[in-house]
Amino acid sequence: MTSATERKLKESFTAYAYLAPAGIVLLTFWFLPVIVSLAMSFSNLTALSPVEEAKFVGFANYIRALNSEQFQQSFWNTVNYAIYSVPLTLSLSLAAAMLLNSKIKGVGFWRTAFFLPYITTWVAISVVWMYIFNRDYGLANWFLGIVSTDILGLETPWNLRWLAESRGIWEMVFETKAPRNLPFGSGAFLAGPSLAMVSIIITSVWRDIGYFMIIFLAGLQNIDKSYYEAAEIDGANAWQKFRHITFPLLSPVTFFLLVISLIGSFQVFVPMLVMTPNGGQAYDTAPIVFYIYETGFRGNWQLSYAAAVAYLLTAMILTLTVIQNRVLGKKVVYQ
């Protein structure tokens, strides 16, 4: 053995001693579960029967999930949540960041005001918004009342059922009913998020704007000012400057935010549990994680089945990440 390998071997022992405390915890509660979970998803284990009685059932859990109407609905609920909340949050926070970046006074004050919702806890703010969306005593309906009767002069005020409304917003706008016999329950997608889900989307946009705004702001401040000066000499207007300088140079930040917010929106759970404890009137606000929680725990205890659903969720998140990297990764411009 050469002395270099000998030294490396010696150093390895020290290194592993330093890694051990974190390693033991991570091994037991992070790495091992990934494998246990995969094994579980092919068995019929429940929390009500002993582990020894579990049998191998192949892909039965996965097939059952994909054919389950509730799973399909929770899938579309999640898709609806992601598709409507992510672009809304990104565009509003980019707009806020650009306004803050335009030689404005009191940046610290505005930043704090916009950022405050993000640091507060999901449970508490969900409770507050549940009150705001209350049909009889909430601020939302009071505001709509002023707009509809006082300003527009309508006879009957707009009075929405918010968190208790399970019709999709497109169904409400076009006053129709989306077909519910489409493959994989995709009618729920055509119907759009239910008004209850829209209420939750408003809450989550409100909460996340500040976080995204701060990251956008840091990105904007990173752009070299000389690009703008050059554009101004060429007579570019505000839109052209945004289109040809800000947007492309900000694209790494936008891409990063798009990825993390899409992944985050597929894992959403807390606001739904607090604001609609049963997943909505017609299971219209239950995302996939809610479905996992309900089938795996909450009196059902079908651990294996829930593990299979969790793996389906992982597959979706990984697919999303890969697609994003393939499609958008190429268009990102680095300064």
Partner: protein
Amino acid sequence: MTSFLFTLAATEPAGPNLVIRIAAILFVAANLAAFGFVISSGAADSDQNARGIWRKRLKHALIYEVLGLGAIFMVTPFYWMVSTSFKDRETAVSTVPEFMPKRATYTAPSASGSGEVEVRVIGTIRNEGDPRTVIPTSEIKFEADSSKGFTIHKETWDKAKEYKVEPNKLKRGEKINLSLQNFRQAWYSPEEGTRGRANFTRYFAVSIGTSVLATMGTLFTGALAAFAFARFEFFGKNALFYVILATMMVPGQVLLIPNFLILDQLGWLDTFYALTVPWLASVFTIFLMRQFFMTVPNDLWEAARIDGASHFRYLWQIIVPLCKPVFITAGIFNFLNNWNSLLWPLIVTSRPEMRTLMVGLQTFTEDAGTDFHLLMAASTMAILPIVILFFLMQRFFIEGIARSGLK
């Protein structure tokens, strides 16, 4: 201002309110005009001529206006929460929102018939015309009761001092209330009736204890592991690092179910071990610290070694003080993560004694129904520690987040 608008709305229930309507039309028109003026490109405009200066001023005014409206949208829910936590039930569920933290007060002829006193209406009302049972507010006391193992403050009064008043003799008023009554009541949730009991002292203790312990643990194990990655050359280093990075991609929900089983096998379900031990290490923290430790120049180690320092002493006496910001940032995020987590404690614990603040608040939401004044008081209490932490450490919060987007 708002209460002025409400009075107008209340006196004129039918038909549109002209004041609000005209104000809204003027607001929209002024904004459209200003916006049009700002975006209309004038080739002759410059910083020198009047038109150019006005355009610039108006543009700034519009930016402030949009930011101001945005800030109102962001802050109103907080204001509403705090304001409601001082109201009584009646004010909290009035159909026209009351923006001030007010309480309804009632005055009635005193029991002896001489003069008027402030009273509290108690008991339920069956018919509109029935006499109301009242008790003078001066007779109501808060009494400590420790019969349940912890202290409850509840309202008590002498039953004999109650008396009945004809409804038309009862006068309603309102006053601004800044007493902490609701907080006290929410802290040990409604005593009477069928509602569940909340014990926020316990919830806070559990949350603070587990969050602090888990955060300290994560920082400690994270520093050791990150040091190993940054300082040593060892067999399997790259492979291990990629495994750690890959784990960051796995959504936490996948780990819930097997961890439930593992904790069950260990006999740790429903114990403090379940709430803390799995959170004593975090891949994200290790990754973050490693990035930071790598920037410390190697010369420092050479110097320390000449002075006879061990690796361990070098880590704690040189690296850690140098990398304080990363410890604060990682500490804040780990603490928030633990403090805010709901799904994990919901699954691994079930006894009421093991409830964290978030679980306690969530169950309280289901129990309290439409007692929004108590719900808002409880929410305010749950948010307050985090808001204080934020204002104390604002710089680290913002820098930590801003940095995450610029990798």
